[in-house]
């Protein structure tokens, strides 16, 4: 009974918390992006982050891309054989990867490897007074730490997606042409004839938006780790990291649907 009486109050508190969090995240993004116009741009930090997000994600991305392409080709081959349309294998694999699987799978790799690590790093920096130290050294935290990380994710993810697509198409070639003995010409020509600039554009727009979403959510969760009154220290950072990973994946997939709906 008491629970029922307290329900409206709990819902109210929860709603206020959500609205406050969204507001804080929006302010955080605004402040970070406003530093685009502040001099000097932290180029060294940007290159370091580009290496972290891009180059160091490559090994796992190459493996995932190869197997994703092979699995997609295997499934399509089995279906297309039944309808006598195996010539469409190249188109089917390429379109699935470029429009959908490439951006989403590359984004999931970045969430798992980079989003979690960035959130934890920023959260620990907050707990160890490193932000206070930067402020006291007259170094703007948004310009020096946040902007390079955000830009690195936005720049690196489309490149990672492109590499994932290429490796995936290669994986499809291995299954379709080398294993099942289909025509290499049909696979490649089908791909070239079907894929349009709009398909590529959809993949690029998705990966740009995903890069922004992933790093924004990771950074803001780490940055506000101290606001969690019930959890502090390592437990607070662990909770913030889990929240960032889950939330990034959900928001990323929601935007995948929204962008797909608008562009198809």
């Amino acid at each position: 009974m008491e629970g029922l009486i307290n329900l409206p109050a709990s819902l109210g508190r929860y709603s206020i918390d959500i609205v406050s969090s969204i507001g804080r995240a929006a302010v955080f993004l605004g402040l970070t992006l406003s530093r685009l116009f502040h001099w000097p741009f932290p180029l060294a930090e940007f290159i370091k982050q580009l290496n972290f997000v891009g180059v160091r994600t490559l090994p796992v991305l190459l493996v995932a891309g190869l197997f994703t392409g092979m699995v997609v080709a295997l499934q399509f081959y089995d279906t297309l054989v039944r309808f006598g349309s195996v010539d469409l294998l190249g188109s089917a694999v390429a379109l699935s990867l470029i429009r959908e699987l490439g951006p989403v799978m590359a984004a999931l790799m970045v969430i798992a490897r980079v989003g979690s690590a960035s959130c934890a790093e920023i959260g620990i920096m907050r707990n160890e007074q490193q932000f206070d130290a930067l402020e006291c050294m007259a170094i703007d935290v948004y310009r020096y730490l946040m902007l390079p990380r955000l830009l690195a994710a936005i720049v690196a993810l489309p490149m990672l997606t492109a590499i994932f697509d290429l490796v995936g198409i290669g994986g499809g070639y291995v299954v379709g042409v080398l294993i099942h003995g289909e025509s290499a010409g049909a696979y490649i020509n089908g791909l070239i004839d079907t894929v349009t600039i709009n398909d590529v554009l959809m993949g690029v727009i998705k990966s740009l938006v995903f890069g922004l979403i992933i790093m924004w959510i990771a950074l803001v969760n780490g940055f506000n780790v101290h606001l969690n009154q019930s959890l502090s220290g390592a437990e607070g950072v662990s909770h913030a990291t889990t929240t960032a990973v889950v939330l990034s994946a959900i928001v990323m997939l929601s935007f995948d649907f929204i962008i797909g709906s608008l562009m198809l």
């Binding site: 790093e121 007074q129 402020e135 006291c136 050294m137 007259a138």
Partner: protein, 254 residues
């Protein structure tokens, strides 16, 4: 100045000044408001009323850019060093110069080596913060705090967590620094021996209020019972309200 956390007042009419070249030690027990006071002095928090004047500027009224400019004249050494964990000790020490000056890298290298030498950390510049001991972290943090030759240095708990020998070494270092660079220093500590050794004057905080202020001798000879309890490490007397205690035990029931 006064400061609040929500409805709770944590600093009450705190009022003191520090002369140029002076070492002012802010002392007090846990929960006395030392750390809160330091955050306000650094401009990391704004007072709910009153003003804080640093180098003749009221920091409560400064805009972000003016505050940044003022901070280039200040140095802060944090309790745990607060070195950026992703950078080597050398890069940490060089960071303020790289970000706030247009000096060339050779000059920055020389200045960083000078300060590290002063802190007995020569040869450690390539190590990462995780590879340093507690005392070394504090000294590296101090090297970074003084790299810009600030006019005023803030130091949070220099002796906390250090063994007695390292603690004495750090006190000596602080005195050497003042002698060499003639810096004004505000040092927050709860270590009595350290405070008595390095302070020109001491401000004692008690429950967010200034309980006493004066030279080391004046503080030692204070007739205030709270100060004498602090100096003699005597725990505070607990006033037990029998009714409130009973109510707590019975969770408000009878």
């Amino acid at each position: 100045m006064n400061a609040h956390y929500g409805d709770r007042q944590v600093l009450h009419n705190v009022n003191f000044s520090v002369a140029e070249g002076e070492i002012m030690v802010v002392m007090g027990g846990s929960g006395s408001g030392k750390s809160t006071l330091l955050k306000h002095l650094l401009g990391l928090q704004k007072p709910s009323s009153g003003s804080i004047s640093l180098l003749n500027q009221n920091i409560a009224e400064l805009g972000r850019k003016q505050m940044m400019a003022l901070r280039r004249s200040m140095g802060v050494a944090f309790q745990g060093g607060a070195l950026l964990s992703s950078m080597s000790v050398g890069d940490n020490v060089k960071l303020p110069l790289r970000e706030n000056t247009e000096l060339d890298e050779n000059t920055i290298d020389i200045m960083a080596r000078l300060k590290l030498e002063l802190m007995n950390l020569a040869g450690f510049e390539d190590l990462m913060p995780a590879e340093l001991s507690g005392g070394m972290l504090k000294r590296a943090g101090l090297a970074r705090a003084v790299i810009m030759d600030p006019k005023i240095l803030f130091f949070d708990e220099p002796s906390a967590g250090l063994d007695p020998v390292t603690s004495v070494e750090l006190d000596e270092l602080i005195l050497q620094l003042r002698a060499a660079l003639n810096m004004t220093m505000v040092i927050v500590t709860h270590e009595l021996e350290s405070a008595f050794k390095i302070a020109d004057r001491i401000t004692v905080l008690f429950d967010g209020e200034v309980a006493a202020m004066g030279t080391v001798e004046e503080i030692k000879n204070s007739s205030d019972v709270r100060i004498q309890n602090l100096i003699n490490r005597k725990p505070r007397d607990k006033v037990v309200d029998a009714d409130a205690y009973l109510q707590r035990l019975t969770a408000g029931g009878t």
